[in-house]
């Protein structure tokens, strides 16, 4: 609890980046391990953001004048009193005053502790354990840490350099999945696939262009295997896959992204559909175009209204003589199931 108080005092300084590096690291580590301080820290940041967004209101001139008029005489009087005689304490009385001060402070503390606080009379009851609350653990230096997704903020700040990303499949007992990675130490985040923090972490892993493609390739495989069983995958996952489809230079990765999007129809957003249309229009790899048109054909069959740009793209693809025949056939199939709206 003492740690919490100290850390909370540090939070405003952390916000203004006024802490020295050691204290900053300690405060961050404490926040990561303490669920109460996580909430406190989130509230601080939220307030800070709100304050940042508030417009600066100018003081009305009338108020400003009245304020200055009120304080001006007082200031003038203070400035005028320059003939103040300094009080010089006698050397002999100094030790007596210090001793008296110690006695007064000590007595006050004793009185405050034993007299002022009301005593609560507890009614005796039979002891019964209803729940065991785990004590807030102290942070210990360790090679690896396991963090529950629910206890970490969904907001990823900056662009942390995470490496050696590994995934663990859903446990049959509690359906918890795990994502491990190296940051300053080895961290494993566990939680349900639908936890916002987990979704954001996966999105970061998928979209992180600093990392090499094999990591993303494995991530896509795992995301497909994991979220295929989730009824309504978070749209952030499909948006991350759409960004991979748009931006990844690795054709194998783009093929996987398009293929995985096909299996997540329910979570598709407008942006996701646009990415598929872009891939169908422009991707140089025929397999990516093929996966994109298959995904759009599946969408059309499911009765989702496709916007005019999508219909136009499908129409042009179906008639494009130099396009792969299978892509053309799939585009025509998609068009045959569209009911104009």
């Amino acid at each position: 609890m003492f740690d919490c108080d100290a850390m909370r005092e540090n939070m405003p300084l952390l916000l203004t980046e006024s802490l020295d590096p050691v204290q900053r690291e300690q405060t961050h580590q404490h926040i990561e391990t303490c669920p109460i301080c996580v909430a406190e820290w989130s509230a601080y940041k939220e307030t800070w953001l709100i304050l940042d967004k508030l417009p600066e209101v100018a003081v009305p001139p009338r108020v400003k004048q009245r304020f200055l008029a009120e304080i001006s005489p007082a200031m003038a009087q203070a400035m005028a009193q320059t003939n103040v005689v300094p009080f010089r304490r006698g050397r002999t009385m100094r030790w007596l005053a210090q001793a008296a001060a110690v006695v007064i402070v000590g007595s006050s503390a004793f009185y405050a502790g034993h007299r002022i606080a009301p005593r609560t009379q507890l009614i005796p009851t039979q002891a019964q354990v209803t729940a065991i609350q785990p004590a807030t653990p102290y942070y210990s230096i360790a090679e690896s840490r396991v963090l529950p997704a629910a206890s970490i903020s969904p907001q990823i700040e900056g662009r942390p350099d995470i490496q050696n990303v590994q995934f663990s499949d859903a446990s049959p007992l509690n359906q918890q999945i795990g994502v491990s990675f190296d940051i300053t130490s080895h961290v494993t985040v566990t939680g349900r696939p639908t936890d916002k923090s987990m979704v954001r972490l996966l999105r970061y892993v998928l979209e992180n262009e600093d990392r090499e493609s094999p990591s993303r390739s494995r991530a896509i495989d795992w995301v497909r295997a994991t979220y295929a069983n989730v009824g309504n995958p978070d749209p952030e996952i499909t948006e991350a896959l759409a960004n991979v489809l748009r931006n990844d230079q690795h054709q194998g990765v783009r093929i996987k992204a398009a293929d995985t999007l096909q299996s997540m129809q329910s979570a598709m957003t407008d942006g996701t559909r646009d990415a598929l249309v872009e891939a169908l229009k422009n991707d140089p790899n025929p397999a990516v175009r093929l996966k994109a048109v298959e995904a759009l054909a599946k969408l059309a069959r499911s009765g989702v209204a496709l916007d005019p740009d999508m219909v136009d793209t499908l129409r042009r693809k179906a008639s494009q003589n130099d396009e792969n025949v299978y892509v053309r056939v799939k585009a025509a199939e998609a068009l045959s199931s569209i009911q104009p709206r």
């Binding site: 094999p214 690795h250 054709q251 194998g252 397999a287 008639s319 299978y326």
Partner: protein, 520 residues
């Protein structure tokens, strides 16, 4: 009143009430207008939902009758629809534009059909835009006609001017009252095209379809194919009628002839020199068989082939489609211009190629060649020497027991050697990606591994084996990381080349995959 009568009356009343409750409201309003137009003027009609009839005649006036039919489940929706659907008549004597105005975000609770009947001077040019129409009919017009629609039946009757029509779904019917004197460009995606010509017509005919057939009752002269595009002359030849539908069929009939006597130009083209793209001239096939005894052959333009077991050799050639073979006891030769190939246990030599799509092979016991112009290649067991090529996509081999040659223009290559083999020849090359070679700890080879990268801090060569010498050298703006040497005393040559990626040679205790012996 008798009880039976009372019950009957109650039932009738109940049914009527139910009908009323479930009923929808429909309202129809009619607008009639008349405008003057120049003989060489144009009429543009933009009507997303509803039929359009344009009839040519005499005079200098455009006469328009518009019926707006709204269907809604309640009065509120009806009013909302009625307030939001408008008609617009614009233009001057040179161009008359008629439009149906719909709100951008439509309420799905109501539907509307706006039916236009437009009478115009015969010489006027016509342009029609439509999305969903029961029919679009243009009759007795000598001016040019352009139609762009999505769905519905388009009827062009006695149109003598040049025409260009483009539909997606539905049907297109051209009925020429006299022999064509102008060009016609007819395009569709899924629609069938029917052209009715007087028997003595002189026309140059071009037809193209991927999925359907090209049929005629005319005696076509000089027929020839260029890919899937057919060219021929009807009579002496004349204005070109270009008929193109991707998934539909094209039928050109002499008026008065029996459509059942129409002959396929695809199958009866004389003097045709066979070319590889002839597969696109074969009719569509959908084959689903649990097993096939003997040699199985399928050649089709568009084909979805699923055979559980081929007890012989298999040869499949298709323009587009999905091919799935469970087991092939003999040789397997599958060529597709596009579409995924899913091949099971192939006991003879395998040759598989697709223009686009993934190729999955459960077992290639004798090895073979697997190529795709774009897509992933995944082979679970390669029993014989294999060549794998991808125009872009990963290559994964779970276990190979003979020489392996894998190459992709962009993608990762992951190869796992049979732990029973002490040495194996391997060539793996990716122009953008990583190579991972997993072999048993006692695997021996002469390694020659090269990484060419612009970022030597990120791309690296790692190995669990000792005995390799690694050199780094600058080649232009790239760094070449080159590792050579013998591992476990040497063996077959293992040549790995990766650009902008890693190479990892790892030693693993691999559990071998065992294939079940098939029952013949």
């Amino acid at each position: 009143m008798r009880p039976i009568l009372r019950i009957s009356l109650a039932a009738v009343a109940l049914l009527s009430a139910t009908q009323l409750l479930g009923a929808s409201f429909a309202t129809s309003t009619r607008v009639v207008r008349e405008f003057p137009i120049d003989p060489a003027g144009s009429v543009w009609i933009d009507n997303p939902f509803g039929s359009v009839d344009v009839i040519g005649g005499e005079g200098h006036m455009v006469s328009v009758t518009v019926d707006r039919v709204i269907t809604a489940p309640d009065a509120t929706s009806m009013k909302a629809a009625s307030d939001n659907i408008g008609l617009s008549f614009e233009g001057d004597t040179k161009v008359r534009l008629m439009r149906t105005l719909l709100p951008p975000g439509r309420n799905a609770r109501w539907t509307v059909a706006v039916n236009y009947v437009v009478r115009i001077p015969r010489s006027v040019n016509v342009k029609i835009g439509s999305k969903l129409a029961e029919h679009i009919r243009v009759a007795h017009v000598n001016g040019s006609v352009t139609v762009n629609g999505f769905s519905g039946t388009l009827i062009m009757e006695g149109v003598n001017g040049a025409s260009a029509v483009n539909m997606v779904n539905g049907r297109i019917i051209y009925d020429y009252a006299q022999q064509p004197v102008s060009k016609a460009q007819v395009q569709a995606v899924n629609a069938d095209i029917d052209i009715y010509l007087p028997p003595a017509s002189n026309v140059s005919w071009v037809a193209n379809t991927l999925n359907g057939d090209i049929l005629t009752t005319f005696n076509v002269r000089l027929p020839r194919f260029s890919g899937t595009i057919f060219h021929g002359l009807i009579g002496k030849g004349g204005p070109t009628i270009n008929t193109e539908t991707m998934m539909g069929r094209v039928l050109v009939l002499a008026k008065g002839s029996n459509p059942n006597q129409a002959q396929s130009m695809r199958q009866n083209s004389a003097n045709h020199q066979p070319v590889p793209s002839d597969v696109m001239l074969q009719p569509k096939q959908i084959i689903q068989l649990p097993y096939f005894i003997g040699d199985f052959t399928s050649v089709a333009s568009i084909a979805d082939v699923t055979v559980g077991e081929v007890r012989g050799n298999a040869r499949i050639e298709t323009g587009a489609g999905e091919v799935e073979l469970g087991a092939v006891f003999g040789q397997c030769n599958v060529t597709s211009l596009g579409g995924p190939l899913n091949l099971g246990d192939i006991m003879g030599a395998l040759f598989a190629h697709t223009g686009a799509g993934d190729i999955i092979v459960r077992a290639a016991r004798m090895g073979g060649q697997v190529t795709t112009d774009g897509g992933l290649i995944r082979v679970i067991v390669a029993g014989g020497p294999m060549t794998l090529r991808s125009g872009g996509g990963d290559i994964i081999v779970r276990q190979f027991s003979a020489a392996m040659d894998a190459e992709t223009t962009s993608g990762d290559i992951t190869l796992t050697g049979d732990p029973h083999q002490r040495t194996l020849k391997v060539t793996a090359r990716t122009l953008q990606g990583n190579i991972i070679l997993n072999v048993s700890p006692r695997f021996g080879a002469d390694i020659d591994a090269t990484i060419l990268t612009t970022d030597p801090e990120v791309n690296e060569l790692t190995t669990d084996f000792k005995g390799l010498t690694v050199r780094r050298e600058q080649v232009g703006n790239k760094t070449r990381i080159h590792a050579t040497g013998k591992i476990n005393g040497g063996g077959e040559r293992v040549e790995l080349y990766a650009e902008e990626g890693d190479i990892q040679i790892s030693s693993q205790n691999i559990t071998p995959i065992k294939l079940a012996t098939p029952k013949r």
